[in-house]
């Protein structure tokens, strides 16, 4: 692709002028301040925009715009930019002038909008470059330094292959390595492994420090508030556990005593020992009740209360299953596939649009799409109705169950109030426990209830006392067997509970020790904060890992680039260099650091430093041209040389022009110069010349028209 023309409607000192170019060598010649650099700058300004608008905006006008026309491979690309508003119009056309791709929108130099991204992607695909700096680094040759050294040349090449305008990948690598070496002496790159760095010092300091504890997560340790909170919570748990444990112990002890008593008592003995109503002292019965774990003054309606508690408990547990079933049923209610509906609709709209646009059976396609949308909408509507119905049913069912649950809870709370009023425990668990005690001590309770109340005649007892309803019809033997089993189970549970409590106590001690260590290390002051050291060590390890990964990745990428591109680069540059030097030097070789060397006499490789300035210039030009070719993969843009040889004497200039001429053979090269001597060369070599008027650039017409129209016009 070549740059066919630059049309400057209003750009710098140019108004309504068109500069045309050809394939091969182009010379834009004019005195200083004639506008050569302005023309050169028009290319990146139109392609990417500029942040130096004031420089190019004509004096007294509020307009600044220019267009570029590229041509090649049977295509033309026109890019027009209004530099004031950064509005860009890009059109790519084929050889029949039919548009292939186009863009119209705002695309400022440093814009990040989607429109900018779209434009840059298009530029990248059409011209192979989407970055202004990179464009300048690749296609622009400014004034070269007086003297190149081999190292400078290598650095320049490394910068170019890095893919940036100014940064040498080796510098990036060096900085990362420096950072790594500053952190640790342990490195695989063999530099100064003797001196300890921050990581080793931190580790040593940590080793000297008294170990804090075995808990590895120092973030937790660091936070003493967190430890205090844990201690508080664990202490509360332990207090509650101890109470439960003591209760359990008492209960087990009671059951055990009770079993012993029952085993020892024969019916006769019981008959003999049973206190006759009014005969046994109140104190004895009360003592027995207390020993059995029963309340000292059990109310007469205790059994009724316990029966009601059992009933409530059973009703509550019966509710669990329907709740779970309802939850599952709610989860299984299918949703409505709105996304599918919308996607299908969008697809059908696209298909219909395409059918209308292409006029491909538009009516049948539209009808089909309409039917599909209707059917799909109907199906979704039906699904929605069914789903809503199911949800409503579930909601009603849940409401009914909630009502039932609430009624049960109300009964439970009434029962609790009654129990509390009678001095009985009110929690469901305590009531279950009491239920068991009552069952196993019914005889004792009956005896207690039969005894006359203080001041009550004994005769009244028969009237007052009614036989207790028996909950179990089993005999004493079967009741005893059940209790033996229960007792063993209870003892096992109690042992487990005790072990769990021991674990919690151990954890509590450990936490207390941690807190104490933390406080003492803080009190110890400098160097004593093991937590901070641990944290720093962790940070250093993370950073070192990251740096190593980054260094290895970049080093691998350089190796990979060398493997995949260096041969071709050497080949292309060598071919060009051989042409420039008329076959004297046939081959160029870049080593892994991009340091060039040249094959001399077909047997010796010599570093670039050992050649003359002219040869090094030629080498540089050959390498840059080859690099550009590889980078752009055949989409080569013109090379722009803005007086690059201004420092050269006549002899070197002639050599440099030779190589420039040769470099242009495969593409397009635009040389901007004020040197009139170049005109003679241009005439001899039949370059395309664009003269800029020496006095009246504003009114002159630049090169327009035929192949030779501009040549030597000036001279």
């Amino acid at each position: 692709m070549i740059l066919r023309s630059i049309e400057m409607e209003s750009f710098g000192r140019f108004h309504g002028q068109t500069i045309e170019f050809r394939r091969g060598m182009n010379l834009v010649i004019g005195p200083n301040e004639a506008g050569k650099s302005t023309i050169a700058e028009a290319v990146p300004a139109v392609l990417f925009g500029t942040d130096r608008l004031e420089r190019y905006k004509p004096w007294g006008r509020n307009a600044c715009s220019a267009s570029l026309f590229f041509e090649g491979g049977g295509r033309t690309i026109q890019i027009k930019r209004n530099l004031v508003t950064d509005e860009v119009e890009l059109v790519e056309r084929d050889d029949l002038y039919q548009p292939l791709s186009q863009f119209s929108g705002n695309a400022p130099l440093r814009g990040r909008s989607s429109s900018c991204r779209e434009y840059r992607e298009l530029l990248e695909s059409l011209l192979g470059v989407a970055d202004e700096k990179l464009f300048r680094a690749t296609y622009f040759f400014g004034h070269q330094p007086q003297e190149w050294t081999g190292d400078e040349l290598a650095q320049k090449i490394r910068t170019l292959v890095s893919g940036t305008a100014e940064v040498d990948y080796a510098d990036v690598l060096d900085r990362l390595l420096d950072e790594h070496f500053n952190l640790t002496r342990s490195n695989p790159w063999g530099r100064d492994k003797q001196r300890d760095r921050e990581y080793e010092e931190t580790c040593r300091e940590l080793e000297n420090h008294e170990p804090v504890d075995t808990v590895p997560v120092f973030v937790e340790i660091d936070d003493s508030n967190e430890i205090s909170r844990q201690i508080e919570s664990l202490s509360d748990e332990l207090v509650s556990d101890r109470l439960e444990y003591e209760k359990g112990l008492r209960y087990v002890e009671h059951v055990r005593n009770r079993q012993t008593t029952i085993a020892e008592m024969s019916p006769r003995t019981v008959q003999e020992e049973s206190p006759a109503p009014g005969a046994a002292g109140d104190d004895d019965i009360c003592k027995q009740l207390a020993a059995a774990g029963l309340p000292e003054d059990p109310p007469r309606d205790l059994v009724e209360l316990l029966a009601e508690a059992t009933e409530i408990r059973q009703e509550m547990s019966a509710l669990q299953q329907p709740y779970a079933a309802l939850g599952n049923r709610e989860k299984k209610i299918p949703g409505v596939p709105w996304t599918v509906l919308l996607s299908v609709c969008a697809l059908l709209v696209l298909v219909t649009g395409a059918a209308w646009w292409r006029q491909f059976h538009p009516w049948p396609v539209s009808s089909f799409a309409g039917i599909v949308v209707l059917l799909l909408s109907g199906w979704c509507g039906w699904r929605f109705t069914m789903s809503r119905k199911a949800r409503n049913e579930c909601k009603t069912e849940r409401g009914r169950m909630d009502q039932k649950k609430s009624a049960i809870q109300q009964r439970q709370s009434l029962l609790s109030e009654r129990c509390e009023a009678l001095g009985l425990p009110s929690s469901p668990i305590d009531l279950v426990r009491l239920q068991k005690l009552v069952s196993s001590n019914r005889d004792l309770l009956e005896t207690y209830w039969r005894r006359p109340a203080p001041g009550q005649p004994v005769d009244d007892i028969a009237v007052q006392d009614e036989p207790l309803p028996r909950e179990q019809n089993g005999d004493a033997g079967s009741e005893e067997v059940v209790h033996v089993d229960e007792l063993q189970e209870m003892e096992a549970r109690l042992a487990e509970f005790e072990a769990e409590m021991s674990r919690k106590e151990g954890r509590l001690q450990e936490l207390n020790r941690q807190l104490e260590n933390l406080a003492s290390s803080r009190r110890a002051g400098t160097g004593g904060n093991a937590t901070a050291l641990q944290k720093r060590k962790y940070e250093l390890e993370s950073r070192i890992t990251l740096l190593r990964k980054a260094i290895n990745l970049l080093a691998d990428a350089v190796d990979e680039f060398s493997r995949s591109h260096l041969l071709r680069l050497n080949h292309e540059a060598g071919k060009l260099f051989a042409k420039i030097t008329a076959g004297r030097y046939a081959e160029i070789r870049l080593d892994e650091n991009m340091v060039p060397s040249v094959l001399v006499d077909r047997r010796r490789w010599m570093p670039a430093d050992s050649f003359s300035k002219g040869t090094i210039d030629a080498l540089y030009l050959a390498l840059r041209t080859a690099l550009t070719k590889i980078r752009d993969d055949g989409r080569t843009l013109p090379l722009m040389l803005d007086d690059p040889f201004v420092h050269l004497d006549q002899k070197r200039l002639a050599t440099a022009l030779n190589l420039v001429d040769l470099a242009s053979a495969d593409g397009q090269l635009v040389l901007f110069s004020h040197n009139l001597e170049l005109g003679k060369r241009a005439a001899r070599e039949r370059w395309h010349v664009v003269p800029l008027d020496w006095g009246t650039v504003d009114t002159s017409t630049a090169e327009e028209g035929g192949e030779n129209a501009g040549q030597l016009h000036l001279l």
Binding site: K133, A165, R175
Partner: protein
Amino acid sequence: MTGLLGSDQIKSLAGEESVRGVLVRMVLEQAEGADSDEVKLLEQALQLLLSRFQAMEEDAS
């Protein structure tokens, strides 16, 4: 792929015929079969490298 590795900038860089382009392509390839920790490390390393390139470019210009 999400985050940095799925960004437009990375996709664009991956098409470059340069060391930077090769670097991005390598990271994307390695991230394909890696576990989440490794992907995170690769992403951080690439971010570190690209930000270094950018910072040094800004310093130089």
